[in-house]
């Protein structure tokens, strides 16, 4: 199946989970990354059980903050 991850279209295996995609994409510090699928925020803690579908558009959003 084909998905779009962080703006890049790619062929992936059926049944791919968000957790595995994070590993495959070598996402840094994944514990601080929010994932969206088709503009919907994926609840943290459900990455292992969230299975991607053909045509899904996935974004990885780093928490961004700081203080002076």
């Amino acid at each position: 199946m084909t998905i779009t991850a962080a703006g890049n279209k790619k062929e992936v295996a059926d049944g791919l989970t968000v957790a595995q995609l994070i590993i495959d994409e070598k996402v840094e510090t994944p514990e601080y990354v929010t994932v969206t699928i088709n503009d919907e925020f994926v609840e943290s803690g459900t990455f292992e059980s969230t299975v991607l579908k053909d045509g899904d558009v996935v974004e990885f959003l780093y928490f961004m903050g700081g203080g002076q």
Partner: protein, 136 residues
């Protein structure tokens, strides 16, 4: 090296000044050519902390900005935020919350209102390295 247009610098500055006394923040999007980051668009986002000492980007606005970047064929390059009362360098909190070592972290100091200072940094753990910033 990272390049920012004068007009985008002015856009960041105007927004940061309008948000005083609070910190302002946003994203930068662009392209990388021969290792040089070229900022094509700056995004002005809401500091959901509404604080003069801390900032957090609004995740929904962050997603909207990233979608806009994808639509325009540009990529997320990092973020920017202001320091209303401290120098243009990453604080310990900035470093602690910098989770993307590939991103550029731009900091605009308004400590001296007559001479705002913008610098860009790469942050990896507790190490912050200043990038060459060209505003033209």
């Amino acid at each position: 090296m990272i390049k920012l247009s004068k007009s985008d610098f002015e856009k960041i500055l105007a927004h940061a000044e309008s948000e005083l006394p609070n910190e302002a923040c946003g994203l930068i999007g662009g392209v990388i050519e021969d290792g040089v980051k070229i900022i094509k668009k700056v995004y002005l986002l809401t500091n959901i902390d509404h604080s003069n000492e801390h900032f957090s980007l609004d995740p929904k606005e962050q997603l909207a900005a990233v979608k806009d970047m994808r639509a325009q064929g540009i990529s997320p390059l990092g973020n920017w935020h202001s320091h209303p009362e401290s120098p243009s360098r990453p604080s310990e909190e900035d470093k602690r919350l910098a989770y993307d070592s590939k991103a550029s972290y731009m900091i605009l100091s308004l400590m001296n209102r007559d001479e705002p200072v913008l610098n860009s940094f790469k942050i990896n753990g507790s190490d912050a390295e200043k990038e060459e910033l060209v505003i033209e």
